[in-house]
Structures are given as structure tokens and as C-alpha cells.
């Protein structure tokens, strides 16, 4: 005989993670531990960056700029990868949290890309003799910054955020072509920028005394990004709640009049 009793279906793990209401519930408990871990990672990373690592035998103390430049450059592309995945979530599943993730990430990506360009130019002047050169790596990173700024402007151009999300998602997918260009620019063209020395198939070519602070600082920056992204996602959900409450308030005022 068929079971006619209504069963309470427990939400799956993906629903628990991705439903806006449930996201607000679990993410509240994650933020403080993330802040603590991020702070510890920065403390260890900065100790290594200034005291626990030697000066480079050729570049001297200028090598210490790498401990902020490489993590910024990594985040400029990691953030875009997150936006790319979110854009697929928006277009394929029309998931509201994917929109929220995209919108929250864009300003962070722009900031870390600008920081990568700035610290790169600070590195370039003493090592290459110039702040800027229109070569493949630097120009494609500048294009990435313009893509981020364009996406932020696009979000602000629409009142209807659901419509904006789909248009932004399409542009994000198109703009993703720039990421492999940035990655392989040092192999495809003659550039001042050195080729990959950490993320290589045959392993890093950097000495461990420099690799350790580099990896710890990259971890610290990545944790900072995750913390900020999580808080900004929560704020974006709250803003959407504000918008619906304001509409309800305006409706109630209209009915009363």
C-alpha cells in the first residue's frame, strides 16, 4: 500500500549552503573563526616576510615586495574564477546566491587587481628600470581591471538586479578569455615579467626560504578575500531584503492613502 502520509523532506547540503535564508544562518557562525585564522595567517606571514626570510642574493630586500605582489595577483585571477563559476550558476540554474556572489566579488577583484598593478610597478622600477611597460602580462592585467570596473558599473546601471545579474553573467563569461591570456602571456610574448616560478608542472623554482613566506602570505590574502566575500554576500542579501521591505512599505502607504 502506498504511503500517503506527507513526509518532511530534509534539505540537502547544497540547499543548506545556497539557500539565502540558510546561508545567513550558517555563515554567521563562520565569520569570527575566519577572522581569527586570517589574522593568525597574516601574523605568521608578515613575520616570515620581514624577519624569517633572507634577502635575495641578486635582488636584496626588494624580494620582500613579492610577498604582497604575488598574493594580490593571485587574488585578481582567483576572484574572477569565482565570478566565472557564479556566472554559470546565474545563467544555468538562475540561482539567487550566484548573483549575490558575483556582485559581492567584483569590487574585491578590482581592488586586488589594482593592488597587483601598483605593487608590480613598485617592483618594476628597481628591478627592470621602469614603472610600466606595455607588455603582455601588464597590459592584460590592466584589461582585467577595466573588466572589473565595467562589471561594477553594469551592476549599478540597473534597478532590476535579476536582469542585471544575467547581463553581467554573460559579460563575465566573455571576459574570462582574458584569464588564460594573463597566465600564458609570459610564454607567448617577449615580456619583462618573469615566467611562472611557483605554479609549474615541474614544481616551484623558488628556494624554500622564499617560497614559505610567499605561500603563507598567499594563504593569508586568500583567507582575507574569503572573509570579505562572505561578509559582503551577507550584506547584499540584507540589501535585497531592504529593497523588498521598502517596496512593501510603499505599497502599505499607498493602500492607506
Amino acid at each position: 500500500m502506498a504511503d500517503t502520509h506527507a513526509k518532511t523532506v530534509e534539505p540537502g547540503w547544497f540547499t543548506r549552503i545556497a539557500h539565502p535564508g540558510m546561508f545567513m544562518g550558517w555563515s554567521r557562525h563562520v565569520i569570527v573563526p575566519l577572522i581569527v585564522i586570517t589574522t593568525l595567517a597574516f601574523a605568521v606571514g608578515l613575520f616570515y616576510a620581514f624577519y624569517g626570510s633572507p634577502a635575495d642574493y641578486q635582488m636584496g630586500d626588494t624580494v620582500r615586495m613579492m610577498y604582497v605582489h604575488v598574493p594580490s595577483a593571485w587574488l585578481s585571477q582567483f576572484c574572477y574564477a569565482i565570478m566565472f563559476c557564479s556566472a554559470i550558476g546565474t545563467l544555468v540554474w538562475r540561482h539567487p546566491m550566484a548573483d549575490v556572489s558575483q556582485k559581492a566579488a567584483a569590487p574585491l577583484g578590482a581592488a586586488f587587481t589594482a593592488l597587483a598593478l601598483f605593487t608590480g610597478s613598485m617592483w618594476g622600477r628597481p628591478t627592470w628600470g621602469t614603472f610600466w611597460e606595455w607588455d603582455g602580462r601588464m597590459t592584460s592585467t590592466l584589461v582585467l581591471l577595466f573588466i572589473y570596473l565595467g562589471l561594477i558599473a553594469l551592476w549599478r546601471a540597473f534597478d532590476d538586479q535579476l536582469k542585471a545579474a544575467r547581463i553581467v553573467a554573460v559579460i563575465t563569461l566573455v571576459g574570462a578569455i582574458n584569464i588564460p591570456v594573463i597566465k600564458f602571456s609570459v610564454d607567448w610574448w617577449q615580456t619583462l615579467h618573469q615566467p611562472a616560478s611557483v605554479f609549474r608542472l615541474d614544481g616551484p623554482t623558488v628556494d624554500s626560504s622564499i617560497l614559505i613566506p610567499l605561500l603563507v602570505m598567499t594563504l593569508a590574502f586568500s583567507l582575507l578575500f574569503l572573509t570579505l566575500h562572505l561578509v559582503r554576500m551577507r550584506t547584499e542579501i540584507t540589501r535585497r531584503r531592504i529593497r523588498s521591505l521598502e517596496i512593501a512599505q510603499a505599497r502599505a502607504a499607498g493602500d492607506a492613502a
Binding site: 620581514f50 636584496g60 630586500d61 626588494t62 601598483f118 559582503r232
Partner: protein
């Protein structure tokens, strides 16, 4: 350990710029979160009042 050798001004500018950008991101994120939280609290309270009437 770091010594204030040649090109120290570029190292200082890199870390100073990073501190400024990260600082602005943190302050901006915290302030906008607080503003949104305060605004939603006001609107929720107004909705409760409307429902009670």
C-alpha cells in the same frame, strides 16, 4: 631580517599601498554591513508595527 638597504622606499610603498587598500576594503565592508543591518532593523520594526495595527 630586513635591513633598510637600497630601494627601501619601493618596499615601503608596496606594503603601505597594500595596507591602505586592505584597510579601505575592511572598513568599507564593515560599515556597509552595519548600515544595511541598521536599515533592515528599522524596516522590520515598521512592518511589525503595521501588522499590529
Amino acid at each position: 631580517m630586513i635591513a633598510l638597504g637600497q630601494h627601501w622606499e619601493f618596499v615601503a610603498a608596496s606594503y603601505g599601498g597594500t595596507l591602505a587598500v586592505v584597510g579601505v576594503l575592511i572598513v568599507w565592508t564593515v560599515l556597509s554591513a552595519r548600515q544595511a543591518k541598521a536599515r533592515v532593523a528599522v524596516l522590520e520594526a515598521a512592518r511589525q508595527t503595521r501588522r499590529a495595527q
